[in-house]
Amino acid sequence: MVINRSWHEQVALFEPLCFAQSGDTILLLEDAVLAMQSPITLASFLAKCQANQISVAALLDDCRLRGIDNKYPQIDLVDYTGYVDLVIAHDKQVAW
C-alpha cells in the first residue's frame, strides 16, 4: 500500500463555520450535501450555525442528484436561481 494524502486532510464541514459571521449563509454544494446523511455531525454543525446566526442552505439539484432528502427544517433548499439570489444578497462569496 501507498498513501499520498496528508494526515491532516479531513472533512471540511466545520472549517467555513470558523470564518463565517452572523448574517452569513453557508451553502452546501456538490458533495457537501452528503453531510445531510451524517445526522450527529450535522446536528452539532447546525446548532453552532444557529447560535451564531449563520443560515444554512443546500443546493436542491445536488441533493436530488445524490438521492438525499432534507430532514432538517434549519436547512433551506435552494435551486440555482436561489443560489444566484444568495450571491446577490451577500457582498462576497468565499469558496472553501
Binding site: Y80, T81, Y83, V84, V87, I88, Q93, V94, A95
Partner: protein, 136 residues
C-alpha cells in the same frame, strides 16, 4: 448585477463545470450578466478542444461554447496555468514551435471560443464586477 466567474476545478474530476454552467444560466435567466468566465488552475482543462465524452455524457467544453455563443459571455483561459497543462491556442503552439506539422497551423488544444490571457484579466474583471463567484 455583473458577476465575474472563476472556475478552478478539473474537467471530469470535479463538478465545477456543471455547477458553474448551471449557475451562469440561472444568473442570466434572472436578468444578471456574467462579465466573463475565467479558467484557472485545473479549470483550464475545461477549454480542451479534444475532450470527447460519450454522446450520453455531460459535454462540459461544448456546453461552455454554446453558453458563450448564446450570451456573448467571454471565456478566458489563464495563459500560464494552461501552458503548464498543455492547453493553448493556435498562436501559442506556433509561438513555442510545438506544431507537429508546420503546414497545419490550427492545432492548438484550446477551443477557439476561449481566449487565452493573463491573470491580470481576472483581477481587472474582479475589480469591474459587483460579485465574484468561484467554482472549485
Amino acid at each position: 448585477m455583473n458577476v465575474n466567474i472563476l472556475v478552478t476545478g478539473a474537467l471530469y474530476s470535479s463538478q465545477s463545470a456543471y455547477s458553474a454552467l448551471r449557475f451562469c444560466q440561472a444568473a442570466v435567466a434572472a436578468g444578471h450578466s456574467i462579465s466573463q468566465v475565467f479558467f484557472y488552475q485545473d479549470g483550464v482543462t475545461q477549454a480542451n478542444l479534444y475532450s470527447l465524452p460519450l454522446d450520453d455524457e455531460f459535454d462540459a467544453v461544448n456546453s461552455w461554447v454554446r453558453f458563450s455563443q448564446q450570451t456573448s459571455t467571454p471565456l478566458v483561459v489563464c495563459v500560464s496555468a494552461g501552458e503548464r497543462r498543455g492547453l493553448m491556442s493556435d498562436e501559442q503552439v506556433l509561438e513555442h514551435h510545438l506544431g507537429r506539422n508546420a503546414a497545419i497551423d490550427s492545432n492548438g488544444s484550446a477551443h477557439s471560443q476561449f481566449s487565452v490571457a493573463g491573470l491580470g484579466v481576472l483581477h481587472q474583471a474582479s475589480l469591474d464586477s459587483e460579485r465574484m463567484v468561484t467554482f472549485k
